[in-house]
């Protein structure tokens, strides 16, 4: 027995509308909420009884069973419809409904499998590729079939040698799928950064990959597509990485196919629990994750990780914030500053940050526009130290001016990286 909390909003668009009622018995795989406009179907991840329905979620008292069986989705004529029935959304974090992407027709275009797993510490995607590369390759083939795209790319960091080896074996006989190896730099896995790497073309932040005749899909999303097409399985399980200040040690723990709605706290318990005092539980990766609430956080279709961090270092003085589209937004930085007990005296945006449809976007992810003005502005407004949220390249730029201006620099990922002894984000080495 256990309580599973299934959020009604796990994707872009309005929350789904429940089609079950309180007290009703549901089965694993059964559709329990329908999209309201743009969105994706939501299915029960466990069999059990619906105990509570609120505006935000459906709570299911699950029966404890080893049985991983599920109710299959109905047979569909098209791959896009299958994706819709299975409730597939972008598993990399954005949660864009996959069936919409699959309805594009690009007979002279490309489908790109995003296997970059850009965020450090998270590594369940690469682990899956190592384990079952065929699943992703077949998912890519289904996506190519749906969009009529003749060519497929798999974008992956060249440091993931083992995963690349297994992929290469898998595509040996496939002439139309290529591997694109990328450097280990944040945020090379951003959609437009990948397109830039492959086609040497910068899309503007308003433009969608379609403008480059491409559809970009996360590797795990493609795996879900393969499962939907082959096994008629809806999205009810999620791969997730749990790491940080855990009794089991500093290494990342990978959980494959955890039922959606499982509490993050129970996963942490499975890793031995939190080791002593902690700072925050970051849901997502170090760069774009947000502090979650240990009592309420659950696994969703888009959650990539849960990282328990060490307490944040205190700094009682005036602090300036440098917001970046690729890292933390202003609220996230303010929340970190609050935990540092710092007084925020100034906030400024990286000059490449533009707001598109309510979200922060970077003009050229991974290519720095220069940061000295921003740092000087923060200093002028009274900041004695700064907390930055920049990507690797921009952080490098900040580091080549702020210390010269006698401004010490915190990076918003410091406490996370320090927890697991990961290298801090600062100056880039000149050799690479």
């Amino acid at each position: 027995m256990g309580l599973y909390v299934i959020p009604l909003r796990q994707h872009i668009g309005a929350p789904c509308v429940p089609n079950v009622s309180e007290g009703e018995k549901v089965f694993r795989g059964q559709c329990i909420a329908e999209p309201n406009g743009l969105g994706a179907k939501i299915h029960a991840s466990v069999s059990g009884r619906v105990v509570k329905i609120t505006e935000g979620d459906i709570k299911i008292e699950g029966e404890f069973t080893e049985d991983e069986d599920y109710i299959k989705i109905k047979k569909c004529d098209s791959i896009a419809d299958t994706a819709f029935e299975a409730g597939i959304v972008g598993a990399g974090g954005a949660g864009f409904p996959t069936h919409i992407k699959l309805k594009s027709e690009i007979p002279d275009g490309f489908v790109i499998a995003n296997c970059v797993e850009c965020e450090p510490i998270l590594n369940h995607n690469i682990a899956l590729i190592e384990e079952d590369p065929g699943l992703i390759v077949r998912g890519l083939q289904y996506a190519m079939e749906a969009t009529k795209a003749p060519t497929g790319y798999i974008a992956i960091k060249s440091k993931n040698k083992k995963a690349i080896e297994s992929l290469k074996k898998e595509i040996e006989d496939l002439k139309n799928i290529h591997i694109k190896e990328l450097g280990d730099i944040y945020p090379v896995g951003e959609e437009r950064a990948i397109i830039h790497e492959i086609f040497n073309l910068w899309l503007t932040p308003e433009q969608l990959p379609m403008e480059a005749k491409s559809v970009v899909m996360n590797g795990e999303t493609l795996a879900n597509l393969a499962r939907a097409v082959e096994d008629r399985k809806p999205v009810i399980d999620k791969d997730i990485t749990v790491a940080g200040k855990l009794k089991s040690g500093k290494d990342s723990n990978i959980f494959f196919q955890v039922p959606i709605g499982t509490s993050i706290a129970s996963l942490i318990e499975q890793c031995g629990g939190i080791d002593g005092e902690f700072g925050e539980i970051v849901i997502g990766g170090p760069y774009t994750g947000k502090a979650g609430d240990i009592d309420n956080a659950v696994v969703t279709k888009i959650s990539g990780g849960a990282i328990v961090t060490i307490p944040l270092p205190e700094f009682g003085g005036p602090l300036g914030l440098l917001v970046c589209a690729c890292g933390a937004d202003e609220n996230r930085l303010k929340s970190i500053a609050g935990k540092m007990k710092a007084e925020v005296v100034a906030t400024t945006n990286c000059k490449n940050l533009v707001e598109i449809r309510g979200a922060n976007k970077c003009l050229t992810p991974g290519e720095c526009p220069g940061q000295v003005q921003a740092v000087m502005e923060l200093k002028r407004k009274g900041a004695e130290r700064i907390l930055i949220a920049n990507c690797s390249d921009c952080t490098n730029t900040v580091m080549s001016c702020a210390p010269d201006l006698k401004i010490p620099v915190y990076h918003h990922t410091d406490h996370i990286f320090r927890t697991v002894d990961h290298e801090l984000s600062r100056r880039l080495s000149l050799e690479d």
Binding site: K247, D275, G276, E277, I310, P311, L312, P313, E314, F315, G316, R385, M399, A402, P403, K406, I407, P408, V409, Y410, H411, R418, D421, E423, L424, R426, R427
Partner: protein
């Protein structure tokens, strides 16, 4: 001393050390093991070394000893058979990964006073390069290594990413030398040499010589004369020797053994006899684990200190207990708190601004008396005094035990040297203390630090100004009965650690000649009577500048203002320091009150009933001295804004930081 079964459970993760000789083949039980609480002391004194593979108490009970071992031998895992498995991770003693012992020690976590540093509390050296590059840390020569700090105790709250310096570690022997080195005193003077064009120019500048700082223009004629530097003259010195206490428990008699203070169980019965107004007295020992409990209003916080044979207050040697203090609390028989303007009763932890000079420090053990005095005497002079006398009876007994302690047990020393600095601006500190009667009184110059016997109540002395040496103040010459608002009152311990005096003693640019104490009488005519005497005293001292401080606010601001007027009208630079902000806004003023320092620490600017919150701190001391030095040098202090604005303080601190 052997353990009991209960202790075995409690100490199961502590190291196992034999308390007496045990023969080969014996089965180890609780009676064979030494009490682990005494081990750190043995380790410190070099009598014992704990090997890395030392087994834990919980592991060895029931195990067989493979060879005969002597008393006080740690049981390593290779000399026993049948050792139990034990999970040592993550609680109690952790199997710290000891590595990189030669690397510098930087804190990974925000840590508190008294915390013992473990290897896991230290930042991974892999991050040092980037952190130094980011200016987040600075690894100077002085920073200790990991090997040097592991197992050591912090002597103050320290935030994460702080490199550990020797002075942050408890027991670090440092004598605080307040002497001046004449070489560095030419602050403010500018030597500019500009040579547009020239050949064969020889410039000779006397190095280490003193260039007068009062004027920045150096005449050629004067250069010819040898600059006269009169070296500072030592007047007297005071040494505080600290004895660490880790445990306070009740026992058969009052005594100190090692780091344990025993208090006679029935001491309260005798303390009760001290004064017939005392109806009941409860003595309680409150360790950090009990900070969350309720307490009656705190009347006073007192150090436990005593003079060594033949020494008078303010000179010679004072012995002080470290880690334990006295707290006086009380009510009358009807349960009315002995306090006038507000009181601090409630959960201890929340009602104390820990770490203020006059407040307890986090981690200290509090010996708290809860004195019940005769009904309705809480607002008359004898009532509160009786509560203090009863408490001091207990303190006196501890003082006797402290006198007997072996000199070898001194854990740290503090040295205060009173220097006169001829040629520097001469200043005096005027401290207004409460003298309205009832609990608003102070015993001046008792025989023992913060004692009762020998002290004269300033009310009885007519509240007239009295000159004390700065060292007398720092040696507990004021036993404060004062019970004005908890947030702004200066408890006895405040004077014992008076930060303005400490800063002024250190300041090489000024010549601190003494401290004037003046009481604040109830009646207005008396207020002006005493403030005129302050004026005459300061005039006779021929000083360049004076600081007037006060505690509380309201009524006493009348004489506070008058003292400033009396000093100001004699053309002496004067700075006033008081809690004012919003709630304590000055009720009177005069044209000499232009240089004021607000001691408020609350966000809203109020008397918040948190003990010592709004009292003078070291930072305030720096602001006061910076302002006084500025006006003595003819600078002007800007008028304040019409409404209280906390920014003013921040800006001033920034200005001081720049200089």
């Amino acid at each position: 001393m052997s353990l009991t079964i209960e202790q075995v459970e409690k100490f199961k993760k502590e190291v196992a050390v034999l308390c007496c000789r045990l023969k080969e083949g014996s089965i180890i039980d609780e009676s064979h093991l030494e009490d682990p609480t005494i081990l750190p002391e043995l380790v410190d004194s070099g009598l014992l070394t704990i090997p890395k593979n030392c087994a834990r108490i919980g592991q060895v009970i029931g195990a067989k000893l493979l060879k005969t071992l002597d008393a006080l031998t740690p049981i390593s895992s290779d000399v026993v058979e049948g050792i139990k498995e034990m999970d040592l991770s993550n609680e109690g003693i952790t199997e710290d990964e000891i590595f990189d012992l030669d690397q510098k020690a930087v804190l990974k976590y925000n840590m508190k006073f008294g915390d013992v540093i473990k290897a896991s509390d230290l930042e991974n050296p892999m991050n040092f390069e980037k952190m130094e590059d980011s200016l987040l840390i600075k690894l100077s020569e002085k920073v200790l290594t990991r090997g040097e700090v592991i197992g050591k105790k912090l002597n103050k709250d320290t935030v994460a990413l702080t490199p550990i310096l020797p002075e942050m570690i408890e027991g670090y022997k440092a004598t605080e030398k307040l002497e001046t080195t004449p070489m560095d005193t030419n602050n403010g003077s500018i030597l500019k040499i500009k040579i547009a064009e020239g050949k064969g120019i020889d410039i000779e500048i006397p190095m280490g010589g003193y260039i007068g700082h009062a004027s920045t223009i150096i005449n050629k004629e004067k250069m010819a004369e040898k600059p006269v530097e009169i070296p500072p003259k030592e007047i007297r010195r005071l040494t505080k020797k600290y004895f660490e206490i880790h445990n306070v428990i009740f026992g058969k008699e009052t005594k100190i053994e090692g780091k344990t203070l025993y208090i006679r169980e029935n001491i309260g019965e005798d303390a009760l006899k001290v004064d017939k107004l005392v109806k009941e007295i409860k003595v309680d020992i409150i360790g950090p684990d009990r900070y969350k409990e309720y307490s009656e209003t705190i009347m006073d916080v007192q150090p436990i200190a005593t003079k060594e044979e033949g020494d008078k207050l303010g000179t010679g040697t004072t012995r002080v207990l470290d880690g334990v203090i006295m707290i006086v609390t009380g009510t009358d028989e009807n349960g009315v708190q002995i306090g006038e303007f507000g009181s601090s009763e409630g959960i201890l932890e929340e009602n104390v601004m820990w770490g203020r000079p006059g407040a307890p420090d986090k981690g200290e053990i509090l010996i708290k008396t809860e004195v019940v005095i005769k009904e309705h005497t809480n607002m008359e002079r004898p009532g509160p005094l009786a509560a203090h006398k009863a408490t001091d009876f207990i303190t006196s007994e501890i003082r006797e035990a402290l006198k007997k302690l072996d000199e070898k047990l001194v854990s740290r020393e503090e040295e205060f040297i009173q220097l006169r600095r001829p040629g520097k601006k001469k200043i005096v500190i005027v401290k207004e203390i409460m003298g309205q009667g009832a609990m608003h009184d102070n015993l001046i110059l008792p025989i023992e630090p913060v004692g009762v016997i020998g002290g004269k109540p300033n009310v009885d002395l007519g509240n007239l100004p009295i000159v004390l040496s700065p060292l007398e103040i720092l040696d507990g010459s004021i036993h404060a009965l004062t019970c004005i608002g908890p947030a702004s009152k200066e408890c006895s311990r405040h004077y014992f650690r008076e930060p303005l005096i400490i800063e002024a003693l250190k300041d090489e640019e000024i010549d601190l000649c003494g401290v004037i104490l003046v009481g604040s009488p109830q009646i207005n005519s008396e207020k002006f009577y005493v403030s005129e005497r302050v004026g005459m005293t300061v005039e006779a001292m021929d000083v360049d500048g004076a600081v007037v401080t006060t505690e509380g606010f309201g009524n006493n601001h009348i004489d506070f203002a008058s003292h400033i007027e009396q000093i100001g009208m004699r053309d002496i630079s004067v700075v006033g320091a008081s809690f004012c902000a919003v709630q304590g806004a000055l009720v009177v003023g005069n044209k000499y009150m232009t240089n004021m320092i607000d001691l408020n620490k609350t966000e809203e600017g109020i008397e918040n009933e948190v003990l010592a919150c709004n009292t003078l701190t070291g930072e305030d001391g720096l602001r006061i001295l910076a302002m006084l030095k500025a006006i003595m040098n003819g600078e002007e202090v800007l008028a304040p804004e019409r409404k209280w604005n906390p920014e003013v303080k921040e800006n001033n601190l920034r200005l001081i930081g720049k200089n």
